[in-house]
């Protein structure tokens, strides 16, 4: 039944694919469209800066990415050796975030099931239930940008 298949397809499209990763053992999720990749972490070079949590440049061959210290913002210590580098597709360009060494996983959620964020954190789109745990869904496209407001 073509009509039924079409509805099924439309339903699938509305689901969100998420990458679930952790920082300091705390799980976080992000939409897969906003992730540019994951690779081993290499030592960045500190950059004196007054921009909150933006404090280094990471070189990978000819490519240089700004580093956003999400662990410091969450008051966590990245776990595991070596940690991983999450490439974040922020609106104004890609940036690197250091995450735990544990391999990120992929999940699919229905955005309708997203629970609204009670905290005034503009970077959190809401919370999703993953394996019994309430996991914050971050908007990586706007992570750490000066003024952000989101609507799910």
């Amino acid at each position: 039944m073509l009509r039924g298949q079409s509805k099924e397809t439309a339903k699938r499209v509305t689901n969100w694919s998420l990458m679930v990763f952790s920082i300091g053992g705390q799980r976080l999720a992000a939409r897969i469209e906003e992730v540019g990749g994951v690779r081993p972490w290499t030592d960045p070079m500190p950059v004196p800066s007054h921009t909150p949590f933006m404090n280094a440049l990471l070189r990978h061959d000819e490519e240089v990415l700004p580093v956003y210290d999400l662990a410091a913002r969450l008051k966590q210590q990245v776990r595991g050796t070596p940690p991983l580098c999450l490439i974040v597709k922020r609106e104004d360009g890609p940036m690197a975030v250091c995450i735990d060494a544990s391999i990120p996983t992929l999940k699919t959620i229905d955005p309708q099931a997203l629970q609204p964020s009670a905290e005034p954190d503009p970077d959190i789109l809401g919370y999703c239930e993953i394996e019994g745990e309430r996991v914050p869904l971050y908007s990586l496209a706007k992570l750490g940008m000066p003024t952000t407001t989101h609507a799910v």
Binding site: M45, S49, M54, P66, Y68
Partner: protein, 184 residues
């Protein structure tokens, strides 16, 4: 041939910026060559905040202190860079010198827009240097008065006890363009 007055060097692809790359803690910084007037081990200048070399008085601060960074502890290897720019003279302590390099403008990149605060005025940009990255310090910012600068300048101008130390006059390390690298 000294570095003074040689900000740019001709290269096949155009004009190069001549920069001295130094280490200040984990940060690698590049300073425009023409601002250099000399360099000497910090211990030779003593622990004073003001030193006079060859008749020129330099107020000395750690380079890291320019951006509220924590200066490295002074060691026998700590160097004092004697700098001059638009009639001002300052001394900056650094951990060590990594080398002199010539960089074509195309290799100098702007800080990513993610850096959105004062640091955009601190650095003219950055470039790949060996296996790391060097930040090109903006001399206008480097020589701009900082906190406590006025007091130091006043001290410098009015303290009669600061005389030229004869042991400094013959020991300035002139920067020679011998090992310059060219990054094109």
């Amino acid at each position: 041939m000294s570095l003074q007055g040689q900000s740019k060097a001709a290269a096949a692809g155009g004009v190069c910026e001549r920069l001295l790359v130094v280490a200040s803690g984990p940060v690698r910084l590049a300073l425009s060559a023409p601002i250099f007037e000399g360099m000497l081990p910090r211990w030779k200048a003593g622990t004073r905040d003001v030193v006079t070399v060859r008749g020129i008085t330099y107020r000395v601060t750690p380079l890291a202190g320019r951006w509220d960074g924590t200066p490295s502890p002074t060691t026998p290897k700590t160097l004092l860079l004697l700098c001059g720019y638009r009639g001002q003279h300052r001394g900056f302590t650094v951990d060590h010198v990594l080398g002199l390099t010539e960089v074509v403008p195309q290799r100098i990149r702007s800080l990513p827009p993610h850096f959105a605060c004062e640091e955009r005025t601190w650095f003219n940009g950055f470039f790949l240097f060996r296996d790391t990255i060097a930040l090109w310090v903006n001399p206008d910012w480097l020589f701009a008065p900082g906190e406590g600068a006025d007091a130091a300048e006043s001290f410098e101008d009015t303290t009669p006890g600061l005389t030229e130390d004869p042991c400094l006059t013959g020991d300035i390390i002139e920067l020679e363009i011998i090992d310059a690298e060219r990054a094109e």
